[in-house]
Amino acid sequence: MNISKFLAMGGYAVYVWPSYGLTATVVALNILWARRSLRRAQREARRRLAALKLAALP
């Protein structure tokens, strides 16, 4: 298969490649956002745990 012919997408390149590019971006960002949201919750939980332990001290 010819690479430049593949990239040209039969004249539809300006519609096909931005669609795939946007999709790749949304897929990657969602992975990043999900991990960040979990890490933030873990950080908050660690802080809350420290406070709970402190409150339980005699």
Binding site: M1, G11, Y15, A34, S37, R40, A45
Partner: protein, 246 residues
């Protein structure tokens, strides 16, 4: 039997542990299916006899649109379960759906615009399918804004659950919009009774993409839901157990 399963998943520590172990089992197959779908969709499938190579947008547009609907159904169902059985894990799952669903609804609209321009000659039309899909985006955004308006997680859970459940009527409207009304958008090719109107060389990559995106959503959902479950937990004993496992 079913009830044992239901109660187990309602237990935050159990959910947290199982979700963590399950995530890679969804994520890696999703990657494999996605790569196979891309090779099939961009390389192996023949150009369409009417739309030429432009039809290849369907391999990203249809999965995005499918996720936008599936995620909403998952969100509304878990919100209902959370409301009826006062189950925190279900509320955590519902809350985790919204940002993922909103992003894929926006993607479905954006790729739809890029698909519409060469095929219909316009980026945008106030067409039943497009308008009802835009409403879905506003439902997701409204749900997130409503949650953000509460400081108390439990109250945010209850209020937003009602919105999620009411909004679910938009899902069948979106699906049937192309049948009920005269729409620019084509009628279903795959999600219909009878045989899909596509040759296997075009259909198989599409099914691979749909399966891959669904599993990928599962992995994202479990990751986010673990954080949301942790956020709702006040029991020091299991918070420390969960954090040790990480």
């Amino acid at each position: 039997m079913a009830w044992v399963w239901f109660h187990r998943f309602g237990s935050p520590p159990y959910f947290y542990r199982v979700a963590r172990r399950l995530t890679p089992w969804l994520g890696w197959p999703a990657l494999i299916l996605g790569v196979a779908g891309l090779i099939g969709g961009l390389g192996l499938a023949p150009p369409d006899y009417q739309q030429g190579d432009g039809f290849r947008i369907i391999y990203v547009h249809a999965p995005a649109a499918w996720l936008s609907l599936m995620i909403y159904v998952v969100m509304a169902t878990s919100a209902a379960v959370g409301l009826i059985w006062r189950m925190n894990v279900a509320h955590a799952v519902a809350a985790s759906c919204a940002p993922i669903g909103a992003s894929f609804t926006a993607l479905a609209l954006a790729t739809g615009m890029l698909y519409g321009r060469p095929m219909w000659g316009t980026y945008w039309q106030w067409d039943p399918r497009i308008t009802s899909e835009l409403l879905l985006l506003f439902l997701y955004l409204g749900y997130m804004a409503l949650r953000a308006a509460f400081d108390d997680v439990a109250r945010a859970d209850r209020a937003s659950a009602v919105l999620a459940i009411v909004g679910v009527v938009d899902v069948p409207i979106i699906h049937y919009s192309v049948i009920w009304w005269n729409s620019l958008h084509q009628a279903p090719t795959v999600m219909k009774f009878g045989r899909p109107s596509m040759p296997a060389s075009m259909l198989v990559p599409l099914l691979l993409m749909l399966a891959g995106f669904s599993l990928y959503f599962g992995a994202l959902l479990l990751t986010r839901a673990r954080g949301e479950v942790l956020r709702r937990e006040r029991n020091a004993h299991w918070i420390s157990a969960a954090l040790e496992e990480s």
